[in-house]
């Protein structure tokens, strides 16, 4: 184990399991027809069902079931053809029903795995325990009044998938890699947008520490951590806190804690201090959810290619290195962009343009791949111009910068600026003659054995032709003239 905490009494390893709440991409809520759009006016996307008015009843959204099953398939997990909804009973101002409808005893998805890659290049498999559907709670706003909290139920009832990992994670870095990989899969599937800032993906982090070979010790749950970086930090500080308690002869209490990013520490969550007894029982308003294997198979057949498979295929289809393929598939939009360019062209050249010049240009202009000023088609066209000898690689850089700036196609730019590569040997010969005439001394030096000057002559010829000469032709002709 590479990550250990060296304490006074020896080395400690950390044990981490993650419970990720991922908001399902759907138009309406899990059990009501109210909209799920983010950022609406407070309480405007609330139905009588979401506000738990007397006599209101839940009816499940089919799309949420589809999304949960697709996610399960994407996690290589077992799909349970019969699952059930339970009520998790507790009182809180953001929970109108006084219970959350969740799947406790019979989740829709069982065991699966995620493969993560660490910076060392090593890969690990992290087990998925289960995935279940449940309702999100509303939101409390504390900063509008000194004595009151405001209740906004727009989010109440939105479908969540809770994805629970096995306690397989042993390093903060693994937790980060797991979350990035999970988010990548969810985005590929289109089942969750993975946006942690808007709260559509949140993590509860279970942390404990132990000496090597020991059974698990008491864990603490850090609730609602909303960025990957904070998850990693929270694990570090929480593990350190626990080691200190154990080493000073104390006991770690099993409790729910909050991560305070500003102070870089975790603290007890006061509202959850009560010993919990959720009194789960099957929701009598809902019958068991029964789906058919054939239906699951059809969803499976229609799944998009997922990142791991795409990465392998990119390596073999386009002959690019594993690392580059990983960079490309990190975001599906990038992978698609790349593939549009690479298809039928030089894959290696394509990857260097996408991850090099294009990424730099996006960075510089504050754009994303979706808003890129250069379309994949245009960039592909430019590679064609290189391939067919219309322009050379050096001129291509100039053309590309023009494309970023003007949004014009490469053809137009080449024509407009007259950048077409010079392949007329007469023109090239004339340029060589002119250069040799101007540099008679250097010609003499070269001929007396100073081979290194060859590069100087190439540069001068290119300059003479404003960079447009075909470098291969220049090389051949120059060699012939100098040596002759």
């Amino acid at each position: 184990m590479s990550y250990v905490i060296e304490g006074k009494t020896g080395s400690w390893e950390i044990v981490v399991g993650l419970e990720v709440h991922a908001q399902v991409v759907s138009k309406s809520k899990l059990f009501s027809g109210a909209s799920t759009t983010f950022g609406a006016e407070p309480n405007s996307q609330v139905s009588l069902i979401d506000a738990a008015f007397p006599g209101m009843l839940p009816v499940i959204n089919k799309e949420c079931v589809v999304q949960a099953v697709r996610t399960g398939l994407g996690l290589n997990a077992r799909i349970n053809l019969e699952s059930r909804f339970d009520r998790k009973n507790y009182f809180y101002a953001d929970l109108p029903q006084g219970y959350q409808i969740s799947q406790f005893a019979h989740p829709i998805v069982g065991e699966g795995t995620i493969e993560i890659e660490l910076s060392s290049g090593e890969t690990r498999k992290i087990g998925i325990t289960r995935l279940h559907m449940e309702q999100d709670a509303g939101k409390l706003i504390h900063d509008q009044d000194p004595t009151k909290s405001m209740v906004d139920l727009n989010r109440a009832g939105v479908a969540l998938m809770e994805i629970v990992s096995e306690p397989d994670i042993r390093e903060p870095e693994e937790a980060g890699a797991y979350l990035r990989k999970l988010r990548q899969i969810l985005r590929y599937l289109g089942t969750c947008d993975g946006n942690m800032e808007e709260g559509s993906m949140r993590a509860d982090v279970n942390v404990s520490v132990r000496k090597a070979g020991e059974p698990f010790r008491t864990r603490c749950e850090i609730k609602n951590v909303n960025s990957i970086r904070f998850v990693m930090q929270a694990i570090e500080v929480e593990a350190a806190r626990q080691v200190e308690i154990w080493e000073n002869g104390g006991e770690v209490d099993q409790e729910t804690r909050l991560f305070d990013a500003a102070r870089g520490e975790t603290r007890t969550m006061r509202s959850k201090e009560d010993a919990h007894d959720y009194r789960y029982f099957p929701d009598p308003d809902l019958l068991p959810l029964v789906i058919e294997q054939g239906w699951v198979d059809a969803l499976k057949a229609a799944l998009p290619e997922l990142p791991d498979a795409k990465r392998t295929r990119f390596q073999s289809d386009y002959g690019i290195p594993f690392y580059d393929a990983g960079v490309l598939v990190a975001e599906q939009s990038v992978a698609d962009f790349y593939e549009t360019i690479a298809k039928g062209r030089d894959g290696k050249l394509a990857v260097s343009w996408v991850t090099g010049d294009l990424f730099a240009a996006l960075n510089r202009t504050g754009k994303t791949i979706e808003t890129s000023p250069v379309s994949a088609e245009a960039l592909g066209k430019m590679l064609d111009l290189i391939a067919d000898g219309t322009i050379n690689g050096k001129i291509a850089k100039e053309v590309f910068e023009d494309m970023v700036e003007t949004g014009e196609g490469p053809d137009a730019i080449v024509e407009k600026k007259g950048l077409r590569q010079v392949t007329d040997t007469g023109v090239i010969d004339a340029a060589i003659d002119a250069v040799m005439a101007k540099n008679a001394d250097k010609v003499t030096e070269y001929r007396s054995g100073k081979d290194k000057l060859f590069g100087f002559f190439v540069g001068q010829v290119m300059k003479e032709t404003k960079g447009k000469a075909n470098p291969a032709l220049v090389n051949d002709a120059l060699k012939a003239k100098l040596d002759g």
Binding site: G33, A34, V46, A93, M150, V151, L153, D277, L287, V290
Partner: protein, 95 residues
């Protein structure tokens, strides 16, 4: 199983029903009597019997994903004992 006062208090807390100790004792006695009576179920052999779920007469129907509801803030706030602008309000909660 006989019900003690501490358990009764814990149950009342879970159910968020605020009862004084004297009331709790009355409740304890009532519930204890009922629990003694329902203990008759212990004589029923349920080996291998599944628990009843729903009434098992129909399968769960699933609705199409469409926005058909919400956008009725006035209605959902119309019955609130206390509100402020577009919000329900509660005493400040510390998380």
């Amino acid at each position: 199983m006989s019900l003690d006062l501490a358990t009764t208090r814990r149950i009342a807390k879970l159910a968020r029903i605020g009862l004084e100790d004297a009331e709790l004792e009355t409740v304890r006695q009532k519930l204890d009597g009922i629990l003694g009576w329902v203990d008759q179920l212990s004589e029923v052999d349920v080996e291998g019997v599944p628990p009843m779920v729903g009434t098992e007469t129909e399968a769960l129907r699933q609705r199409d994903d469409a926005v058909t509801d919400g956008n009725c803030r006035d209605a959902i706030l119309s019955c609130a004992p206390e509100k402020s602008g577009p919000f329900y309000t509660v005493p400040k909660v510390v998380e």
